[in-house]
Symmetry: C2
Subunit: 352 residues, 2 copies
């Protein structure tokens, strides 16, 4: 296992005491399923809404404008430098809600567990989930547990689906990028993908490269308060910065120019990319957000971002143009310009 | 494949034309992922909200009281008499919302597909999903696609998460069953589980036993309109009628008496249960709902249920008592009484 910043509860829940690994019957809907849910999941995730123990959760919203998003997480390995599949699943869905200009509030969690998965590892994942939802200030309000036979899954897959309330007076869409807008990112790119790949390949660097998995809602609270004129928000996960910007260029029918000399990439990540043969532009991030907004708003937003630990390396990395709609170009350090295409085939499977 | 009631679109979407099975790159977040989403998923599921093509969906609710529920479906086999995993996943989540006393409105859909899964089968599942959401009058508004290596999944797993608006003036909870209440079910039990098990075991009966998978929201619309005094609603899926009633008996701290002579079970299902060694009380249903309500409301609710095709065999099957709280008893046909315990171990794995 990897070093963890959270302190784990060492009291041993009943499912671990009775079974050292997950059995098919833990997903059968009977006594063992109930034991697992009560003693492990409810024990950690408990809140007034979850305790209704219903077929679903009753939520009382304060706004009628809500955002709704889903993601399944199939990352391999499930424990990696900087995190594990549990917190990744929570943070990923929180960030998708943030990218809708919403305040994340409620999350559902659904496990597909492979028979034989060690209870201790499940317990560790569950505690990381709890830590992630507590840090982000969201509640797990409903869930589901399924177990599949050994060889029909891979340890654990997690779906999280989230609900948030959309901030008033904000209108965000991938179609909204306008020529003249600038593109801000809140820090270094490619950390997550390279953390996973160097771990898979057994590469050891002087400093361990950690995933950037993080929930960005608290950082963005400040931004939403300061600036109502954000045009586009996206988190460059699978496919990396390049794929996300290509999507935006197509949706908004605009050109995009990236400035290579402004792109924040950690030295060790750049080195690992060279060794592994990856372009950092195509490598997944899990704690980054792209903010596209009018230039005159950029400085105040940068200032707000840099106050937060997840935004201290924020930078303006590009600009929306009215030339070559649908295309993304990179202005290189040596002054040339090259096309940045959408990733075509498989680059990094099961990166999230 | 099994006989289907819906007519399939025979035009061949691009992913099938180019690839006869799902590749790892279809889940990589790049060009192939986009092709699959655009040409297959969006093409079928399209609606104004989904077309926002955002990290999530923007929803404008008309009520601030919403229900929220999630389920992952890992059923094996994915095609079975009476349906397939696609419509099952839609109907299951719709029914969970109905059991919260809510009107189902929006659904998210997340696929975990095993590498090598035939495109034609995916296309058939997708069309069944479309048919199911259209029949039920709900919208798929956001989704996710992941692909895992061959041997790390089993064809396809589907998570659906749903949002509904809670009917006003209705208060439903598993804690609400009251002594004197009666228990109504909307038809025959054990069809789904026996359809799956006889299919797995290769059993052939004179008539094919079909899953009862169905979305019950339209049937229940009439009930909610007629009766505001329903105390408990639950769908007896995994673990069957027995497990669900045990949960209710525990939550509401009441006794439950079931009348064996009132339990609707199809003759061929009863026969198959005997051959396979199952008790129909413990076999999963996917189109049934338990309605617990004051006796004086029962006849009018029965009348309303019986008007609908999914409720024509509705019956009163039991009663809530104030003796032996937490226990479920069966009054048998021969006049004896036996305990109906919660299912303990694995009975029917991957039944939904």
């Amino acid at each position: 296992m990897f070093e963890n910043n959270i302190s784990f509860d060492l009291t041993c829940p009943l499912p671990i005491a009775n079974y050292d690994s997950v059995q098919m019957a833990h997903g059968g809907g009977g006594r063992l399923t109930h034991q697992l849910i009560e003693q492990m999941f409810f024990k950690q995730f408990k809140n007034d809404i979850l305790e209704q123990a219903h077929d679903g959760a009753f939520l009382t919203m304060t706004s009628k404008n809500i955002a709704f998003t889903t993601d399944s997480f199939v990352i391999n390995p499930i424990f990696f430098p900087g995190g594990n599949i549990g917190e990744l699943a929570v943070n990923g869905t929180i960030n998708d809600l943030v990218c809708c200009g919403a305040k994340p509030l409620y999350i559902s969690i659904a496990f597909i567990i492979e028979e034989g998965f060690p209870m201790e590892e499940l317990w560790q994942v569950v505690q990381s989930i709890k830590h992630a939802v507590d840090s982000a200030g969201v509640k797990i309000v409903t869930g589901d547990t399924k177990v599949v036979e050994k060889g029909k899954g891979d340890k654990i897959y997690i779906n999280t689906t989230g609900i948030g309330e959309v901030y008033p007076d904000i209108s965000i869409s991938p179609q909204n990028a306008k020529p003249g807008d600038v593109i801000i990112i809140n820090g270094n790119i490619a950390d997550h993908g390279i953390a996973i790949m160097s771990n898979r390949e057994g590469l050891a660097f002087e400093t361990v490269i950690k995933s950037d998995t993080a929930a960005l809602n608290h950082m963005m609270d400040g931004v939403f308060e300061k600036c109502k004129k954000i045009h586009v928000l996206r988190d460059p996960t699978r496919g990396g910065l390049a794929s996300t910007l290509n999507e935006i260029a197509l949706s908004s029918r605009v050109g995009i120019t990236l400035f290579e000399d402004q792109l924040p990439v950690k030295e060790e990540v750049r080195g690992a990319c060279e060794i592994l043969g990856f372009d950092p532009l195509y490598v997944a991030n899990e704690g980054k957000i792209l903010i596209i907004l009018p230039e005159e708003e950029a400085l105040s937003v940068l200032e707000s971002l840099r106050l937060h630990k997840f935004g201290k390396d924020s930078a303006i990395i590009g600009r929306i143009t009215n030339t070559d709609p649908g295309l993304v170009k990179l202005k290189t350090i040596i002054g040339t310009t090259r096309m940045v295409d959408m990733i075509s085939g498989e680059q990094l499977p099961r990166i999230c």
